[in-house]
């Protein structure tokens, strides 16, 4: 039965990339919105951006880059037949994703307790550019956080399949495609980090 099911490795990968393109266009639209508003309200963006916590942003960047490294390495170890290390690496990726979200929780809580959240009484008194900045901040990092959450679920399933030997050294397309998704999540953060935390 397994032999008659010829795995279309290339086809599966192309399908994944096509999905990633829709993600790129989805976030691309938001990046475009950010770019236009930055050119329109440069001073307000600068002022609002200074309120963001650069340390948390930087730590989360390091966490995501490292998690991307773990998942990339897991494909190598799986194909070299080191199953145990592979499971650990995928688990470490999931752990990093959870750390990222915990940091995000503290970051957002601090902002919200200062009355900075969409349509708050404090926020609507600020200049229009600052309101725009914070709205984009919540929408873009929020949508990204949803992707991180989905990544945790996807990678957990992959971890389970690994343990059950449903993903193996010869049949690793599920791990490879999940890794591609996870790298995209990292890729988007690579741009979100300078745009929100540094440029301002």
């Amino acid at each position: 039965m397994e032999n008659s099911l010829q795995k279309d490795f290339l086809g599966a990968k192309i399908g994944m990339w096509l999905f990633l393109f829709t993600e790129i266009i989805l976030f691309g639209g938001l990046f475009l919105l950010y770019a236009v508003d930055l050119s329109k309200y440069a001073d307000d963006f600068h002022k609002a951006g200074q309120e963001l916590n650069v340390s948390i942003g930087t730590i989360n960047t390091l966490v995501l880059i490292t998690s991307s490294f773990f998942i990339a390495l897991s494909i190598t170890t799986l194909r070299l037949g080191k199953k145990k290390i592979t499971v650990y690496l995928v688990a470490l990726t999931i752990l990093s994703a959870i750390v990222f979200l915990i940091n995000k929780y503290f970051e957002w809580s601090a902002k919200i307790s200062h009355g900075i959240y969409p349509n708050s009484d404090h926020l609507i008194t600020l200049p229009k550019g600052e309101i725009t900045f914070y709205n984009l901040y919540y929408i873009m990092t929020g949508l990204h956080a949803v992707h991180v959450l989905l990544g945790i679920i996807i990678l957990s399933v992959v971890c389970l399949l690994l343990v059950k030997n449903r993903v193996t050294a010869d049949n690793f397309i599920i791990l490879e495609n999940s890794a591609l998704y996870w790298h995209l999540v990292d890729l988007i953060w690579i741009f979100l980090y300078p745009l929100f935390y540094l440029i301002a």
Binding site: F9, I14, I25, I65, S68, A72, L184, I190, L198
Partner: protein, 93 residues
């Protein structure tokens, strides 16, 4: 596909990871100095370099066949067109 045989070495991946960490440090340090407009340019240049490293090595694009390579190229070309052309409008309004 050549990809099926190609396995990225742990060494290559580690080097890419270290480069990404260094670039993050650089972009953080540059942002501490006030260079005006150059700050935006520097931040985006570093981010694009980091993105290229992730796509080429972590996402394995360097070792893919032409089909996926061209697909990715066209996707980013379309992204560049729709961001670029919007600015033809926004900049000269």
């Amino acid at each position: 596909m050549s990809d099926y045989e190609h396995i990225l070495s742990a060494k290559t991946l580690t080097i890419v990871w270290i480069l990404l960490l260094i670039l993050t440090y650089i972009t953080y340090k540059i942002s501490q100095i006030n260079l005006g407009y150059f700050n935006v340019l520097a931040a985006l240049t570093v981010a694009t370099t980091k993105a290229a490293l992730v796509i080429m090595f972590f996402m394995h694009l360097k070792y893919e066949g032409n089909v996926i390579r061209y697909m990715v190229f066209i996707a980013f070309l379309i992204l560049a067109i729709f961001i670029g052309f919007t600015f033809f409008d926004v900049s000269y309004r």
